[in-house]
């Protein structure tokens, strides 16, 4: 299976997962020059930016470990643009990671924050 197809499948699975978890999706594959955010959702009063990582097997390390500092920075920067566009800068904000490997879906809430990333 090619990497791209695997990723798209993973994101679809994650989309279903957050809906089941009671979150309301706001945007999918939000793309800006600074990067891309897989899913933006609303969880109660918080705006949640979700990065989906998919792996067919664990032999390259866990999927959540693949969200590097560089990736975190691009997510935070893109998130800022989204918040600005939607006038949400003073809302409650969270960065989550959904890690999918095979059948396993793991939701890591508050996986990282913007400390020293801007």
């Amino acid at each position: 299976m090619s990497g791209h197809i695997l990723g798209v499948q993973g994101e679809a699975a994650a989309y279903k997962f957050i809906k089941d978890a009671g979150m309301r999706p706001l945007a999918k594959n939000y793309k800006k020059r600074s990067g891309e955010i897989d899913i933006i959702a609303r969880d109660k009063d918080a705006i949640v930016f979700i990065e989906v990582k998919t792996r067919s097997r664990d032999s390259f390390g866990s999927p959540e470990a693949a969200v590097t500092r560089f990736k975190q920075r691009s997510i935070v920067r893109t998130a800022l643009i989204y918040l600005k566009e939607n006038k949400l800068l003073s809302a409650k904000i969270r960065f989550d990671v959904i890690a999918i490997s095979g059948e396993n879906v793991k939701h890591i809430k508050n996986a990282f924050d913007a400390t020293e990333l801007l």
Binding site: A91, K92, I93, N110, T115
Partner: protein, 509 residues
């Protein structure tokens, strides 16, 4: 949501009150510490995050801003971990924010939430008491160090959960019970005792005088004559420290991170740095301007064995702190003043082979070698040493016939009496002992009999004494008179004091 609590930092041997303010707001989640934190304070973020999670508390998903006020003062070290963690919990109402507003909290956190001991807990606790803080939470590992402090409620903390439960009133931690100082003094034991030093009657007499007046001593003698042994016996004949002296000494050790396990330092410190010591280790310094050996020896003895082996610049650096009784250390990040009223005891051989002037061995050194060896000790330093004594080696046959000598506790009784006599005289001044007399006080406190004055002026002429040497002789004579409880210094006192000045003529001429 804002909450504040108090913490303490170190400035020299004093604690500096620092207000820890934590603000939670919505917005991009971040954890920032402002107020000139150093690397260890910034790393608190990771320790706090892990400790809170591992203790089962949720880490807030908000923007966390920590301010350490006053903001223009550099904050060092990990002692801010616990107050920041507690203030964060107060913001999320896990702890009552009002309950922590007026108490001081200190402690380093480990990742599992246990509280680690910190450096300088004693000076911080003392300063908190002076600032009127009623209650202080500090690491359990520091509790023996601060157990002598009363007038402030000190709560020993083992881990984060315990502190939270204490603050919320679920399970109170009993405060540390203050131990009486006199209780601590009782069980003193010395490894070295003058009882085991055979012979050397004149050297012992000289050391007794030195102990009674706090004078500096130089011992010159061949190897194996007992110089080091006698120096190590000195703490056993020095008078007990007063409570205030013990507090200052312990504070210095606490700042240097070497406070005794048992808590308060009750025995006068005896420091004997090796002769390879650098001047930073001796005088103090480093990035954080920590106290050196001379400050750790405050109120005690600094023993320099084999004096000529020390680097010259190291010895010269001692001159100013010896005169002033304090040392100011200035570094880029810190400026500190530490007290350094120590009694200097030095020992040395008279020549490289060690037997110059000995009656039992023949010296193998050339006169040039001897001169070079002796010249490593500078004149100005010698001038600052009140008493120079010669220690002779004792022939083996006399060692075996000699009975057990006088015990240290007997000598100490006489020393304590002489010190009490001095204290009476210096009641209304800041002087602690005869050695601390300044040139301006000499006339006021050291009354000489006419014949003593005459003898002294004659000796000054024939021996070519410097002004400093002159006042030092009077000070030593004052101590000899104190040992006999005489108000006026007479001729015999001066004569004995002069004798402790005569050997520099023999070697350094």
């Amino acid at each position: 949501m804002l909450s504040t609590t108090l913490c303490y930092g170190l400035g020299g041997i004093d604690g500096l009150q620092i207000t820890v303010e934590v603000n939670l707001s919505s917005g991009l989640p971040m954890f920032d510490i402002v107020g000139l934190p150093d690397a260890a304070v910034k790393e608190a973020r990771e320790r706090i995050r892990a400790a809170l999670r591992n203790c089962g508390y949720s880490f807030p998903e908000d923007r966390i801003t920590v301010n350490l006020a006053p903001a223009d003062l550099k904050k060092e070290g990990p002692s801010f971990d616990l107050p920041i963690a507690i203030a964060i919990l107060a913001c999320s109402h896990r702890v009552n924010p009002i309950a922590i507003r007026d108490i001081a909290i200190l402690g380093e956190l480990s990742l599992d939430g246990s509280v680690r001991p910190i450096r300088g807990a004693l000076p911080m606790a003392i300063s908190a008491r002076t600032h009127g803080v009623k209650k202080m939470i500090l690491p359990d590992g520091n509790s023996s160090e601060v157990s002598c402090i009363d007038g402030i409620e000190l709560i020993p903390a083992r881990n984060l959960t315990q502190v939270v439960r204490h603050l919320s009133g679920e399970e109170k931690i009993p405060p540390i019970e203050a131990a009486a100082y006199s209780q601590l003094l009782k069980n003193r034991e010395y490894s070295s005792d003058f009882r085991f030093v055979k012979g050397q009657r004149s050297a012992k007499r000289a050391l007794e005088i030195a102990a009674a007046g706090g004078h500096n001593v130089l011992m010159v003698g061949p190897p194996g004559s007992g110089k080091t042994l006698m120096a190590r016996c000195m703490p056993s004949i020095l008078p007990d420290m007063t409570f205030d002296e013990a507090l200052v000494s312990t504070r210095i050790h606490s700042v240097a991170g070497c406070a005794p396990e048992s808590g308060l330092l009750t025995e006068r410190p005896f420091r004997s740095p090796h002769h390879t010591a650098s001047h930073v280790s001796l005088v103090g310094g480093g990035v954080h301007a920590v106290p050196g050996e001379i400050s750790k020896a405050h109120n005690g003895v600094l023993f320099l064995d084999e004096l000529p082996e020390y680097k010259r610049d190291v010895l010269e650096a001692l001159r100013q702190p010896m005169e002033d009784g304090f040392v100011s250390i200035t570094r880029v990040s810190a400026q500190s003043t530490y007290p350094s009223e120590f009694m200097l005891i030095c020992s040395m051989n008279p020549c490289p082979c060690g037997h110059y002037g000995s009656r039992t061995h023949e010296c193998r050194c050339s006169s040039a070698e001897i001169r070079r060896y002796l010249s490593r000790v500078s004149g100005p330093l010698l001038d600052r040493i009140d008493m120079h004594i010669e220690v002779e080696s004792i022939p083996a046959e006399r060692l075996s016939e000699e009975k057990e000598a006088e015990a240290s506790c007997e000598i100490r009784k006489r020393v304590e009496e002489a010190r009490a006599f001095q204290r009476q005289r210096y009641e209304n001044s800041k002087i602690s002992c005869n050695a601390r007399l300044g040139a301006q006080n000499i006339h006021e406190f050291c009354k000489l009999a006419p014949d003593a004055r005459k003898m002294l002026s004659m000796a000054t002429e024939t021996m070519g004494l410097s002004n400093r040497a002159f006042t030092r002789i009077i000070k030593v004579a004052r101590t000899i008179a104190d040992l006999e409880k005489e108000m006026v210094i007479n001729q015999t006192h001066i004569a004995e004091a002069l004798q402790y000045r005569s050997i520099d003529d023999k070697y350094w001429h």
